[in-house]
């Protein structure tokens, strides 16, 4: 039972390992060059999956600020009275959350029962969604910053890293394919063992 729980807890990690091993095996032992490249892509995506899994947080949303958070800030900067401003700008997303919260909670929806509109007196006043299950990590609410609970959003850093990794992956794939084509032009085959055979019997 414990084992199953452990499995379920970290299923993503398990899967990433399995996929990665499939890819690795293909890279190492497939004969066909294109198969190797596909294996390589699989391998790289598995690593990306791993990274993305790191960034996941329960009950957090995508790392893009809510529309009203943004607008609230703008208003505050412009010096409007934030109470009105906030209400005025409350757009759909906010309401949807609030409304949803009155229904039964959904696993994935942001739990925003206690979303409340705070008013801060400082020169940058912002709408803040403070979660009721506020974590014990002190989050920074520096000057000029929004009061954003870090647990509300997912970790953007890993996403950034993985964007880069994907790009690198496709670049590598492209170069690999080009090399494959060149090899085919010279050997007439894309099976590695046949190429090696040709080289060995060799008219090089």
């Amino acid at each position: 039972m414990v084992a199953i729980e452990a499995l379920a807890d970290k299923f993503n990690y398990w899967v990433y390992i399995v996929i990665m091993m499939i890819g690795l095996y293909a890279m190492v032992s497939k004969n066909n060059l294109i198969k190797k490249l596909i294996g390589m892509s699989v391998f790289q995506t598995a690593i990306i999956l791993f990274y993305v899994s790191i960034g996941y947080k329960d009950e957090a949303t995508i790392p893009i600020l809510y529309h009203d958070q943004v607008h609230g800030a703008h208003h505050a900067e412009e010096g409007d009275h934030s109470d009105e401003g906030a209400h005025h700008d409350e757009t759909h997303a906010m309401e949807a959350i609030a409304k949803e919260a009155t229904h039964h909670g959904n696993d994935h929806a942001v739990d925003a029962d206690h979303a409340e509109v705070d008013e801060h007196e400082a020169d940058h006043v912002i709408d803040a969604h403070v979660m009721h299950n506020e974590s014990d990590h002190a989050f920074e609410a520096g000057h000029g910053g929004l009061d954003i609970d870090p647990n509300q959003f997912e970790n953007p850093l890993v996403h950034v890293l993985m964007l880069t990794a994907i790009v690198v992956g496709v670049a590598t794939l492209g170069v690999g394919l080009a090399i494959t084509q060149k090899l085919y032009g010279e050997f007439g085959t894309i099976e590695e063992h046949e190429i090696i055979e040709q080289l060995r019997t060799g008219n090089d």
Partner: protein, 505 residues
């Protein structure tokens, strides 16, 4: 502008590369001067940086103005500064050599070649100066992609080898990435120094994740540097790629990877963790011993000049990996010093191989037949490189071996010392075989029939653009040999805070 020198190191080649790629389509002739100019500027920048480092200590350059854990920093201490100077210089010399060869060896793709060349240099320089673990990965991939392409421009064996390299290189880089991910999951940081601080602060010494991260990173880098059992991609690719490509890649790519390994061990994981907590130094030293012996034996078996040299690279990698894992300050000094000296040594012999190939069109070691008569200056350059690889004073190679052996004795790794000596002897055999052929000719005449003047083969001295880098390299080998004390002082200054002396193990 001097405070901006760190970024300029890499901006020069990098921006020029793109410029060359664009301009090349219209004015191919402009590519080479631009390349040379930018690499020269890059050398100036590296030297400026080095001087600054020597004066003021570690430079921390915040790219984008964001303080380290948030932004990316370029962190330059004595180690990187030295390696950066080496990389820039080697690239510069290699570029000079390329001039006459590129057109004929790459099917008129000069501009593309130079663009890739500069990008490779930029990538390697970037790897050297960065202080961010992930940024390193990106630059690693730039360097790797350019290498694949530079090699694949060669003949069909090289193309196949380039493919193998692509697969292996991707595995290596991905392992590295995975290792960084494992570190990130435990520390939440990507900045090298910050990672170490977090590792210590959170007491992650026993964490299996960190252990696996360490294994992954090390193994990944081993693949990239062609450490013995993982070396399969190297010999053919360097031996059959265009000589211009292999004369920059052979010296630089593996060495920079070793630099990265040193950096990971020292700065990211910390020597205490790498050597004390994970006590597998001995295994690695044994692996290094096997690598050295295997490389040497492999080299003995080769008839192809450049292929022989590639096996030597494998042996040299063994030297350095072993040197790092000796867990001894002198050994580490030797390994780092060897990074620098080996870069130039390898460059020297590969340039020689390139010149011989250019002149004779033959690949095997008998191509050097009688070259002492025909190309005496070239041979002088080669002899310096060869002596250095053998380890004859006062060339740089002797001193690196000096420190390595000292480290080996200090730490009691006699097997390593013996392997090193055997390898030196094998090098001696290999190079004297070549020198012999160059001196005596392929079929030595019986008795006293003397060579008078040049034979029927019309081989004369190499053109000046090929001689300058060769002799320049030879001079540098001698210089860093003679002035090794100053170099070592910089390295030891760098190593001092890591406190390797104070009896780890």
């Amino acid at each position: 502008m001097t405070e901006q020198a760190p970024i300029l190191i890499l901006l020069f080649p990098f921006l020029t590369a793109i410029f060359v790629a664009l301009l090349g389509a219209k004015v191919p002739a402009a590519s080479w001067p631009l390349t040379i100019a930018s690499l020269g500027a890059s050398i100036c920048a590296t030297l400026t940086t080095l001087i600054q480092v020597l004066e003021n200590g570690t430079i921390r350059y915040y790219v984008g103005g964001w303080a380290p854990p948030f932004g990316i920093e370029l962190r330059i201490d004595g180690l990187n500064a030295l390696v950066a100077v080496t990389v820039a210089t080697v690239a510069f010399l290699g570029a000079i050599y390329s001039k006459d060869r590129v057109e004929s060896e790459t099917e008129n793709k000069g501009p593309q070649y130079y663009a890739l060349y500069l990008l490779l240099a930029a990538g390697l320089l970037g790897i050297v100066i960065t202080g961010d673990a992930f940024n390193l990965y990106v630059l690693l991939e730039i360097a790797a992609l350019t290498s694949y392409a530079l090699l694949a421009m060669g003949n069909k064996r090289a193309t196949l080898a380039a493919f193998k390299y692509l697969i292996m290189g991707t595995i290596g880089a991905s392992f590295y990435l995975l290792g960084v991910g494992y570190l990130y999951i435990k520390t939440g940081s990507l900045n090298m120094v910050d990672i170490q601080e977090q590792l210590i602060a959170n007491g992650l010494q026993d964490s299996s994740t960190v252990q696996v991260a360490f294994i992954m990173i090390t193994v990944g880098l081993w693949v990239k540097m062609a450490f013995f059992p993982l070396h399969a991609w190297l010999p053919n690719s360097y031996a059959f790629g265009p000589t211009t490509s292999s004369s920059i890649m052979a010296p630089l790519v593996t060495k920079v990877m070793i630099y990265v390994m040193v950096r990971m061990v020292l700065t990211v994981f910390g020597p205490v963790y790498a050597f004390e907590v994970l006590d597998w130094g001995n295994i690695v030293v044994w692996l290094a011993v096997i690598a050295i012996l295997a490389g040497s034996i492999g080299a003995l078996a080769q008839k192809d000049l450049r292929k022989m040299l590639t096996f030597l690279i494998i042996a040299e990698v063994g030297y350095m990996v072993g040197g790092v894992w000796l867990v001894d300050e002198t050994g580490m000094t030797g390994a780092i010093y060897h990074i620098i000296s080996d870069a130039f040594m390898t460059l020297c012999v590969f340039l020689f191989a390139g010149i011989v190939f250019a002149k004779t069109g033959a690949r095997d070691i008998y191509a050097v037949d009688g070259l002492f008569k025909k190309m005496p200056i070239t041979m002088i350059g080669f002899i310096v490189g060869a002596f250095s690889l053998i380890g004859i004073p006062p060339t740089a190679g002797f001193f690196s071996k000096w420190y390595l052996i000292q480290g080996g004795i200090n730490s009691g790794n006699w097997e390593y010392v013996i392997a090193l000596l055997i390898s030196s002897l094998v090098n001696a055999v290999l190079f004297f075989r070549i020198i012999e052929i160059a001196y005596f000719g392929k079929k030595p005449a019986e008795g006293h029939i003397h060579h008078h003047g040049d034979d029927h083969t019309k081989i004369s001295e190499a053109p000046i653009t090929q001689l300058i880098p060769l002799l320049g390299t030879a001079a540098i080998i001698l210089l860093i040999g003679i002035f090794n004390k100053d170099l070592v002082a910089v390295i030891q200054d760098f190593l001092e805070p890591f406190n390797l002396v104070a009896g780890i193990r």
